[in-house]
Symmetry: C2
């Protein structure tokens, strides 16, 4: 992780049902040097949730000030609560040479790409339409209508792949992790992140 001087922001995103959460968790367990981005939110803490670990809990006023002062890499409102990615938290890690992993939906990833284009954008996809169907059904409590809506949305979202740098098929969680780890290592070798090597000669 320390081949380049500055850390790299890796954005893990993809359609619903791709398994972003599971892969992200597995990756964090395998890569202790990687730092997971912590979101800010206006929703109230649930039992056991810690400020600065699970979320940065903010009042609506604080959150809106963060928006106003451009302190969020992206933000969204979901069912009346606000969620966002604090720029400072990410920047401080990167400055110290630590890589940051941000797990986020496609809309959020596209905002981050706008505010932080130096990031590396990884699109996680299910191995097949059949597998996606069974994953959506596996969550249970789906009416036929809601299933069709979710499946249609996921298929639609897949077309956003072109706006990412990498696509990782999540067939087996460990294999997906191995691919993402290779992407992390390779990005540290990219020439444009290592131009300072030239001045060392």
């Amino acid at each position: 992780m320390t081949e380049g001087k500055r850390g790299i922001l890796f954005v893990l995103s993809g359609p619903s049902g791709a398994g972003k959460g599971t892969v992200c968790q597995a990756l964090m367990a395998r890569q202790p040097d990687l730092s997971l981005s912590v979101s800010a939110t206006t929703r109230l803490p649930r039992e056991g949730e810690q400020h600065g670990v699970n979320y940065f809990f903010k009042s609506p006023e604080e959150f809106h000030a963060m928006i106003a002062y451009n302190q969020l890499l992206e933000w969204a409102e979901v069912y009346g609560n606000f969620y966002g990615t604090p720029r400072n938290f990410v920047e401080e890690k990167l400055e110290r040479g630590v890589d940051v992993l941000l797990e986020i939906d496609i809309q959020g990833a596209m905002q981050v790409r706008h505010t932080y284009p130096e990031g590396v954008f990884i699109f996680l996809i299910p191995p097949s339409a059949t597998e996606l169907k069974s994953r959506i059904l596996g969550r249970g409590s789906e009416t036929d209508e809601s299933f069709q809506r979710r499946f249609g949305a996921a298929r639609h979202e897949l077309q956003r792949m072109k706006e990412y740098n990498y696509v990782v098929v999540n067939d087996v969680v460990d294999s997906a992790c191995v691919r993402i780890e290779a992407i992390i290592r390779a990005e540290h070798c990219s020439v444009h992140r290592n131009l300072e090597l030239l001045s060392e000669w």
Copy 2:
């Protein structure tokens, strides 16, 4: 190696003294699925060298016909003998989904970049100027003048790094291999090599 449908051409290059040959040999031993590009040459076979394994041995007439018919990805004349990379050999492997590794000097790599820009260009460098000095001296039989010439040339060649995709520091051969293997795996996940996934949905 089979995540994308078509194989990828990886060009391993770098200044003299970077250890290209050693890394290439180690990589081939670790990666049996990788295919090493075999050069064509007009020089005579040495004892034990096999046609199609070490080189494709060609008459000067045959070699010049290959140049004329654009059948070489690059070529050069060295002390009166011709050397080149047959396009057919590489293309056939790539078509079959096999990755090809080409170890070559910087001048050759720049020719390949021109004739085959879809390749992935990896620049191998020694860990430091001090280490490069000791590697050049380690080859022995260097006069002070020839040492200065070689060292100066290598420093000059280092500036070509900017024309490559990746830079790999060859501090320890196995570590350099791990980085190159990550690059290979990551490139198979690049979105522009996987656009056919979109049509599968």
